[in-house]
Assembly symmetry: C2
Homo-oligomer: 414 residues x 2
């Protein structure tokens, strides 16, 4: 009777929440001029290994299909994006501003805010290496979260620069083969005791801690912050060189969004990956790119802890499923008349429900209320007139059935 561990059933109320989140994501992305695309749920396993190394397979829902292909349910969308862009980039003028809302899958230990599937808003700007693209994308991330009712004291986007750290490692004469390991230590430093990080960093510890303690400056990040200030978004953003992000393929600005309370996992994360499309397409297509993702699970947790966000969501989800009109059949002899009107109202675009079986009038009105109907239309002794009842005000009136549509337009402002 239960779904598989880590998978969700979406009962109507859950599905309304999901639709609400998707609607907000779509609305804000389109305000920013992004267009929606999508890829397959299933891809060759190799596509993910090529990006993330062989160890990714331990976290995949992967298998051999009936045609002996090694396939995996997508853990993320970026490899598919690289594949699709490499195949089709000539058809589009650059830069591409693309978004998507894929469901992604990872076989992981379950923990708070992490299931085995989630929906993940993705936005990417492809074919543009100017810093303005980075600013545009960070601004989108901020405005996506603001669209759910969150303010500057609810969340923060921490912005860093992978290039800054590469320059640092170069200045310290660290051999390139050690970079990735050191960057991962720095990425983890916020969550580890200082001594442990220091031991791992060795002679790099002192200069690295100076940077992490806020004494590092980055002219590039100062420009990012200034540009976000022009947009009025500086309060939602902090420069934080402690953000490195574990993945090897980031090449420039990286950022992560967190709740200010620091109780939840990251709300979103991303960065610039100028070499990945080239790598994944075996050099066939080389395009600079920057992107980020935001999951629905952690976002849902933050909404449920925030009064303003909850109120905003409740208003929208209530509207999503409610009917406009409920048809009350008080006398079964008028069922045919009622069904004729039902059809006419639906064809005019109204959401209308009615009793499929004979039922007491009181019970029908109760159902009308439960379905959120604004107006009940009663077919009974008054025929050929019908009785309209405004279910918000309780006001009742009679109308010839030929005028029902016009009267509803007045009542519902349709």
């Amino acid at each position: 009777m239960q779904p598989l561990p880590g998978f969700r059933d979406f009962l109507p109320q859950d599905c309304a929440t999901r639709n609400y989140i998707f609607d907000r994501w779509r609305e804000v992305a389109r305000r920013y001029g992004f267009v929606e695309w999508d890829g397959p749920v299933l891809e060759p396993t190799e596509l993910y290994m090529k990006k993330s190394g062989a160890e990714i397979v331990t976290q995949l829902f992967n298998f051999t299909d009936k045609g002996e292909r090694e396939v995996a349910m997508r853990p993320e969308l970026t490899p598919t994006l690289a594949r699709v862009v490499a195949a089709h980039e000539r058809e589009f003028k650059k830069p591409l501003k693309w978004f998507s809302i894929p469901q992604c899958f990872r076989y992981e230990k379950q923990q708070r805010g992490r299931l085995r599937e989630h929906f993940q808003f993705n936005a990417d700007i492809i074919g543009e290496d100017s810093l303005e693209a980075d600013v545009e994308l960070i601004a989108l991330c901020v405005d996506l979260l603001r669209a759910f009712g969150f303010a500057a004291n609810d969340f923060v986007v921490r912005v860093s620069d992978r290039e800054f750290w590469i320059d640092f490692l170069r200045s310290q004469n660290v051999p390139e083969e050690n970079w990735q390991e050191i960057l991962q230590v720095i990425d983890k430093s916020e969550r580890e005791p200082r001594e442990k990080t220091a031991a791992k960093l060795g002679p790099l510890a002192e200069p690295a801690f100076q940077i992490l303690d806020g004494k590092g400056t980055s002219e590039k990040l100062d420009r990012v912050l200034a540009a976000l200030r022009v947009r009025g978004l500086a309060d939602f953003v902090e420069i934080d060189l402690g953000i490195v992000r574990g993945l090897a393929y980031y090449t420039g600005v990286v950022f992560e969004a967190f709740d200010r309370g620091g109780k939840l996992r990251a709300l979103a994360g991303g960065g610039r990956y100028d070499n990945l499309i080239d790598h994944l397409s075996d050099g066939a297509v080389s395009l600079p790119a920057i992107g980020f993702a935001m999951g629905d699970v952690v976002l849902g947790e933050l909404i449920s802890e925030n009064t303003e966000a909850k109120v905003l969501m409740a208003g929208r989800t209530l509207e999503m499923d409610r009917v406009d009109v409920y048809i009350v059949i008080a006398k079964e002899e008028h069922r045919t008349d009622a069904v004729r009107q039902l059809q006419a109202l639906r064809e005019s675009g109204y959401r209308v429900d009615y009793p499929l079986e004979p039922a007491k009038v009181g019970k029908q009105f109760q159902t009308a209320g439960e379905l959120g109907a604004r107006v009940a239309v009663l077919f009974g002794d008054e025929w050929p007139q019908v009785k309209l009842k405004n279910l918000n005000t309780g006001e009742q009136s009679l109308a010839p059935h030929e005028e029902l549509l016009r009267r509803l337009e007045q009542l519902l402002g349709h």
Copy 2:
């Protein structure tokens, strides 16, 4: 560079088509008072075997997960519906009117109108055994197709009754263990030479052909047709006892929608399955039910062959991704001023794009046109005034930048 065989990439234009189809499905389902739900993409393989027998496994994307569970990517939604309803039915007042738009997967030989994945609108009425529920659902099927611009000469819903055939088999003293086999022969009879069907049916051939040739009558189906006539939908429906549907679990009215040209696979199909929830829940919950499904692939083919449907779709998909305003930065010294306005316009709900990098004014206007912008706002020598250009009419005017929002409201009626 290609997706797996039978899987689709959705480039922005394809995704707009998909969103258009989903939007219409949702809109019409809600007009009928249906609410949206969803289940997991992955379920225990057993759930599907329990419904369809062990042979279904040959058609599944199934595998053993890392927790040694036998799992399958859903080939259909009905088993999940039965599971979810059995687990939660007490939380809801009956009847349930639920719809969903799952992506479903089958490992099948590819052919026209059949890939290895498709999106499938599902609608079910649970907990109601009156014939009115059957009528309501068939009406929904008709109105879903009409919403895409199809008329009575484009498609037809053929309605039959499994019960009619069960009564026939009983009257001919056919033992119950042979019913399913004979029903499948009748289901296939339309697509096979008459002699072949006759040979399979033996002594049943003569009475069965009498029915198939239109001499069978069903009082129940006459009532269904009469009720659809009340709704003005009789022209979209035909009684056709040749429709049996292969699946064993149907118990009453069954129906399928086809293009009138008869060139495509079924557009939709479904029927009453009063025993399935009981069976799948091991008798824990027993509820009558009727449902149907409509896939996006065959529907998409029919749209692409129908002028009116194509025009309707083109209008909607064009609106889906276009921006309202393009900001033209004629002088880079005004970029900051432009970006400030950009943010204000987006926060007012407008869709606005702008050049991420310096570009020639002519090229910027070209981009504005390509993105479908209605208005271009130019920041240049006129500052602190901005120049507005209506891209439909070519009309130009100047406005103080503080009045930009108000002027756009006039131009765009927002």
